[in-house]
Amino acid sequence: MSTVTSVAQRPTPTVRRQELGSAVVRFAGDSGDGMQFTGSQFTQATALAHNDLATFPDFPAEIRAPAGTTFGVSSFQINFGADVIKTSGDAVDMLVAMNPAALKVELPALRNGGLIVVDKGSFNERSLRKAGFKSNPLGDSSLDAYRVLEFDISAMTLEAVKDFGLSQKEALRCKNMWTLGFVYWMYGRNRQTTVDWLNQKFARHPQLAKANIAALNAGHALGETAEIPHGLHGFTIGEAKIAPGEYRTVTGAEALSWGLVVGTKLAGLQLTFCSYPITPASALLHTLSNLMEYDVVTFQAEDEIAAACSAIGASYAGSLGVTSSSGPGIALKAEAIGLAISAELPLIVVNSQRAGPSTGMPTKTEQSDLHQAVFGRNADSPLAVLAARSPSDCFEVAIEAVRIATKYMTPVILLTDGYIGNAAEPWLIPDVDSIRFPRVQFRTDPAGFQPFLRDPKTLARPWAVPGTPGLEHRIGGLEKDYDTGHISYDPINHQRMTEARAEKIRRIADDLPPQTVEDGAEKGRLAIVGWGSTYGPINRAVSELRKKGQDASHIHLRHLWPLPKNLGELLAGFDKVLVPELNTGQLTTLIRSRYLIDAQGLHKVSGQPFKINEIEAAARECLEK
């Protein structure tokens, strides 16, 4: 059969398809079922169908949790449509459950009347018991509020791949492709990208490639030929109105990596990335490790502290040192970051935030390290803090971090989170040649050189790197004389240096564009202020409120320290300020103390992103008060 290496060509029967504006699909199964691969393939095909989209991968910390358990369920949610999509979706329209545990865990997310696709073959007594079902939900009335499509996916997959000589175990691992094939049919997606991907992925095992493609085709064929229960049919979703240009899908980890590479290359520097593996930050290390041809050096250090210290060493020697971790690892780096503040060296510290405290929930998202970033060191130790709002935004924020770190000779903490890092979205690929970025100038002139003499405008000290004749000097964590840079314990000098370090960071605000309003008026009844990955839900909530005639505006911060110069004035133009955060009120506290206004918080710490309606409800409550 020649069809197995490509999409099976069949005459397309005229099927009636229901037109939808958008849809939310969640794939769920065991952590070994390949749900993340399935989801990312569906994402790719959906992007190619010119839908806008946003995704939410949600998986357990265990790599292969015991099969069939509720805590081992891995899921991938995608919201896609003909309209602008800004979140991964509040309620799920279609749930694909590969086993009873997946059904058990994910059912609460499904809207009433939503569609469930289940692998009937996996609903045996043992797996039902493991998932905690007292009776088989496929046999009782517990799913009456939904529409259920039951297929024996296991059996149909085994049948589809029987000619390829696979073991039972290998054959069953093709189940996810069968399922993907069926969901492709449901939404009228093209299978070719997945076929190409399978051929590439299994280039050295052609039998596995053929089997997976056969399973994909079989799932798709079932949709075309099977007798689907009355009232159910495939869907079509129109193309979104998308600005013309070249697109790709991008995860936050990819965009952040590329932003760092582009920023340092434009600055004329080598990027030295020093990190220690930690969930969910490791994806950055993996991505950058493959970019050596772009003058990227990656170093897997022996621990978090060594990672920070080697990055600072690299900056000292004229590279841009970047270190990356998640909250617990950032805590370990704190002393080293303090040295970079004292020695006034550029450094970027990426924090892929996760739920805490301590080990917390490593694969679940949270925004609870804002205070750690702004204040989390001994003594008065100011630095710059930035936050990315979405996967693609990571690219620009990374370039901004390179700019601030090198221009102001300071550490910059870049906050992202597990959600942004792993989630994917379509991205209009920028033209690098159009990015304006100044090349870094090292100090080379020995005349009048003192290591801590400051630029009168930025207060940055010169970057004088070892290897430069005539500029030999000694720096460290001891207090330095303002003029000579020598060790100084002079009381007045310490006061002056402490103030100079703070003023240098404050002056970054002079160098930022004024804070703008994302949506809504610049004055009014309610400002909803957000930062980081809450961008999507806040933006959609404000848009919904405004459609319904409510006076609400959305302000979203990229620069968290220093705060934009006009922010206080901007917020003063609103009767009320609401700050939704995935923590217990860290930006709220910052805004209240900084501007002495009665900002109200909306706090969620469940490891899940905000839903649009949660923000909308809080905003209404605020407006009614």
Partner: protein, 342 residues
């Protein structure tokens, strides 16, 4: 980078800064500083290409007194900073200066990893068997029973042997000297400098205030000849005031013993010849302790392999051969892209 200034022979004084040296009068660190300045002059080092990196402690003040580049960092982490410096610019000549507390206690982890990675730098550990800067607490090299402000009844812990630990961590160059040995120490430092990879040098350093004469059981003038053996590659392991004592393998055992030439039929040919490429021998020399054995000084072990930077360089060259190189627009368009028509 690394602009070479006109070659004029620098003297030891050219490596001294104008900063007042603030170690206690009589501290062994003064002697090491002097030996280092002489070493740099002798090897024709360039000030602009030389970097001293230190952690915290008395020894860590060293960079302030060297007229080169210097980075006084945080406690125990100097090897990690030095690694970053070498990643950014492998052409720099990096010396890490550390103490027994800095390198073996708070920084033990980094010491182990810099040694096994074999980053091309020199790592000097000034061992005075005490915490000096914090006023005299026992350190990881203090002998059991050391009385100190934190161990008024004497310390309970067994000390770590720095050179044995370095060998165990995979160091390819391990040497030992004493602060006051102003001829021997510069020679050891030169060997360390010439070695490609991490060179670990333990320097016994007298803390005159908190642990005075702790090494007198082998460094005291009147006994030193009989208590120290200076090892040299290819030469018999002979020591003693009369140059008539030596080390040999104890017959029938995998152990060293001291013998006297001319006694019990022992001749010079029975004496073990030092082979610095022999790790097992290095381990035995490192393990020799007073009072039964002499203390081994000199290059105990030197067996070079490619350094970490050599490996990074190879990967760079390989990546550049296969990669697209400079075009950043290509980087952003890796993998699958699609075009939306206007």
């Amino acid at each position: 980078m690394n602009v070479v200034s006109p070659i004029t022979k620098l003297t030891p004084k050219d490596f001294a800064t104008d900063q007042e040296v603030r170690w206690c009068p009589g501290c062994g660190d003064y002697a090491i500083l002097k030996a280092m300045q002489r070493t740099l002059a002798d090897i024709g080092a360039r000030r602009e290409n030389t970097v001293f990196v230190s952690g915290i402690g008395c020894a860590a003040r060293f960079p302030y007194y060297m007229a080169t580049y210097g980075f006084h960092t945080i406690h125990g982490r100097a090897p990690a900073f030095a690694t970053g410096i070498k990643l950014a610019n492998p052409g720099l000549d990096v010396w890490v200066v550390s103490g027994d507390g800095d390198a073996l206690s708070i920084g033990g982890n980094h010491l182990m990893h810099v040694l096994r990675r074999n980053v091309n730098l020199q790592l000097l550990m000034f061992n005075n068997e005490i915490y000096g800067l914090t006023k005299g607490q026992y350190s990881p090299t203090s002998r059991a029973g050391t009385r100190s402000p934190s161990t008024p009844w004497g310390s309970i812990e067994n000390p770590v042997c720095a050179v044995a630990l370095a060998l165990g961590a995979g160091a390819r160059f391990v040497a030992r000297s004493v602060d006051s040995l102003q001829k021997h120490l510069p020679e050891v430092l030169k060997r360390a400098h010439a070695h490609n990879g991490t060179s670990f040098v333990e320097i016994f350093q007298n803390c005159i205030v908190f642990n005075n004469d702790v090494f007198a059981d082998f460094t005291a003038r009147e006994i030193a000849d009989d208590a120290e053996v200076f090892v040299e590659h290819g030469k018999p392991l002979i020591f003693g005031k009369n140059k008539n004592r030596g080390l040999r393998i104890k017959p029938g055992k995998l152990a060293l013993e001291t013998v006297t030439i001319g006694e019990n039929g022992v001749t010079e040919t029975d004496i073990l010849v030092h082979d610095e490429t022999n790790r097992a021998l290095a381990g035995m020399l490192a393990g020799m302790e007073r009072p039964t054995m002499p203390i081994a000084l000199g290059v105990l072990y030197c067996d070079p392999t490619p350094s970490y930077e050599d490996g990074v360089k190879d990967h760079f060259e390989e990546a550049k051969k296969h990669g697209t190189g400079k075009d950043l627009n290509k980087l952003l368009r890796r993998g699958h892209t699609w075009t939306v028509a206007g």
